[in-house]
Amino acid sequence: MDILNFISWIKGGRQVSTVDASKTLVPLGLRDAKRDDGYLAGAITVEDLLALVDTSIQGESYIVVKGDGATAAENGAELKAAYDIAVASTPYGSAKSSSNEYTILVAPGTYDMSAYNGAYGWEIDADYVNVISLSGIADVVLTTFLVSSSFCTIKGIDASPNNGQILIDPSTTSITFDTCIASDFSFGAGITMNGHTFKNCTAGSNSFGSSMVLFAPIPFVTPPQSTPQTVTIQACTFENCVAGSNSFGAAFVDAGIIDSTFNKCLVSTTDPSLASSFGYAGNFGPSGGTVYIAGTTFTDCKSGWYSFGCHTGFVGASVLIESNAVFTNCKAEAHTFGYSSTGNTAEALGFFKNCTALIFSFGYTRMTRQGMASGTFENCTLINNEGFGGYEASGLFINCRVGSPTTGGGFAYAFGAADPGAGYASGTFTNCAAYGFFSFGNQTANGVFTNCIGSSAAFGRLADGIFNNCVASGSAFAWDTTGLTVAGQFNHCIGGQNSFGNDDNTLTNYLLSGRAAFCIKNYGDYYTSSGAPTVLQCVNGSNVVVTI
């Protein structure tokens, strides 16, 4: 057979475009060492020939899964075959390692892995094997699967159709999930996580290191009816992640977030009162337990109620936001940034900058004397009332606000002023304001206050701190000092009725004390300083100067 045969066949119209692959033969030269020319003429069917051709695209450290099967099951078979190749691979002749990984590049499509399911769906169990969408977006659709391997990247996977989950074995570490989507109870539901990274991932409720699981079967979780649930997020990074309620470190009893980073993460719920995330525990039961946040930064994160360090157990629980926790540009609503229910403690020792909450926040407990705001609070706002240290405000407070001058009123219970009648404001307060009643030390104001604004019953029942350019209305600045000498230093401050001692002898006490000058407003008259700071002059309602 030579080229003349081909010319003759073509001229004779025997060139074809389709054949019966199982019966059509292709001539071959079969190797035969016994022959002088080394080959023996033979034939093979087209079908058998094609089966011998490797049409896959792969290299030493990667393989491409085309996902062009006729069914999702065929796609699944292709992915499974590629995974098996990856598991067995030794890229460049060496065992897989952090510097010698193997990557499965998966084309967009739906992959049915049900034929290969273990206890919790398909299981990715080989270290250093990455499964990555070819397009980089979440267009590789899988059903529920479990990652029980470490040191790998899972990118562009969407398990959310049919309520699929992406599950993580608690024994793993250093997994990167990038641009993945899953349903409720995903990305570490019910487990303690260590060293994982989550970028651009979206999940439903009870996800990203959450243990608020009420029912089986969720892997690795014992329902709370029999075992207290604890979750810890340690050395994990979350960037641009979104979840439903009870996520990012939420548990029934103990929740810890340690040495981690949260950047632009969001809890999305239709009802913000159900958010309960970013360090939440309690579930309104009588249990003790702890919410502990340390060494962690939260930047541009947002949640609803019961978040950023909150315990809603009723007895014996505690919330501690350590001094090395940093919250910047974070927004939440009620019961946040160090809050605990009656019978618990809450301490906010961290850095809080440009953070906003609605009510009951920033180191606060209700009805007890266990809320402490000892950290640094800068440009933080409590839209409504009750916060910034229920019992003790001993930290640094700069440009912080509780309520507003237009909507103020009510009971502020802010800056070391809790109900009932407790609270110490012993820190430093600069340009801070609380527009409702009871603020800046319900019991004692012994800190340094500069350019601060309060309302009635502000600046301490006892006031022995230093007050510069501060303003309040009635019963402020040592409003109950009967039998006591006012010990504070008041520089250009304004109070209302029954302020500065609320005692007939108060003004005399001030004069005798030789303290700095102050202003006082009483009924229709007001008093202001003039000349030497130890001289008190009063100006009545007719603007007539009266020297006392």
């Binding site: 039961g285 009588p286 003790g288 702890t290 502990y292 340390a294 009723f314 007895v315 014996g316 505690s318 501690l320 350590e322 001094s323 090395n324 009656t342 019978g343 403690t345 301490e347 020792l349 407990t365 009805m367 007890t368 004397r369 266990q370 402490m372 000892s374 950290g375 640094t376 019992y391 003790e392 001993s394 930290g395 640094l396 009932p420 407790a422 110490y424 012993s426 820190g427 430093t428 800190g447 340094v448 701190g465 230093i466 230093q489 030789g514 303290r515 700095a516």
Partner: protein, 124 residues
């Protein structure tokens, strides 16, 4: 993990918690509306307990440990200044120690008034 507080050097407190009984726990868990009043009363009782700012008894050994930690982090103050502790919080978590000291140097004037210097925060 246990957290200790101080606003007076050498004096430490750690919150004591209400000794809830099994019966009270059951009451908390009750979903029977007939128990609502009793449940509210229990909450009030618990609140009253905490309103006394109760502290657990702290052993001498722990107090010494806390004082040692505190003193190792307490800052030096300048000449003519005294040191005023505002608040200290120390957490012992296994072998790990963490905490925060709020304090400020103070200058006592001849007229008896105080010049409070900028508040310092020592984190560890």
């Amino acid at each position: 993990m246990k957290t200790y507080r101080s606003s007076q050097e050498g004096v430490w407190t750690t919150p004591a918690h209400y000794p809830i009984t099994e019966a009270e726990t059951a009451l908390f868990n009750s979903e029977d509306s007939a128990d609502d009043a009793a449940k509210e009363a229990l909450k009030e009782t618990i609140a009253a307990f905490y309103a006394t700012n109760p502290s657990e008894e702290i052993s001498t050994e722990v107090v010494e440990q806390l004082n040692s930690i505190y003193n190792s982090h307490k800052p030096e103050v300048g000449e003519g200044e005294t040191y005023e502790l505002i608040s200290a919080t120390i957490t012992l978590r296994g072998e790990k120690v963490s905490g925060l000291i709020n304090c400020r140097p103070v200058i006592l004037k001849e007229d008896g008034s105080k010049d409070l210097k900028t508040q310092m925060q020592i984190r560890f």
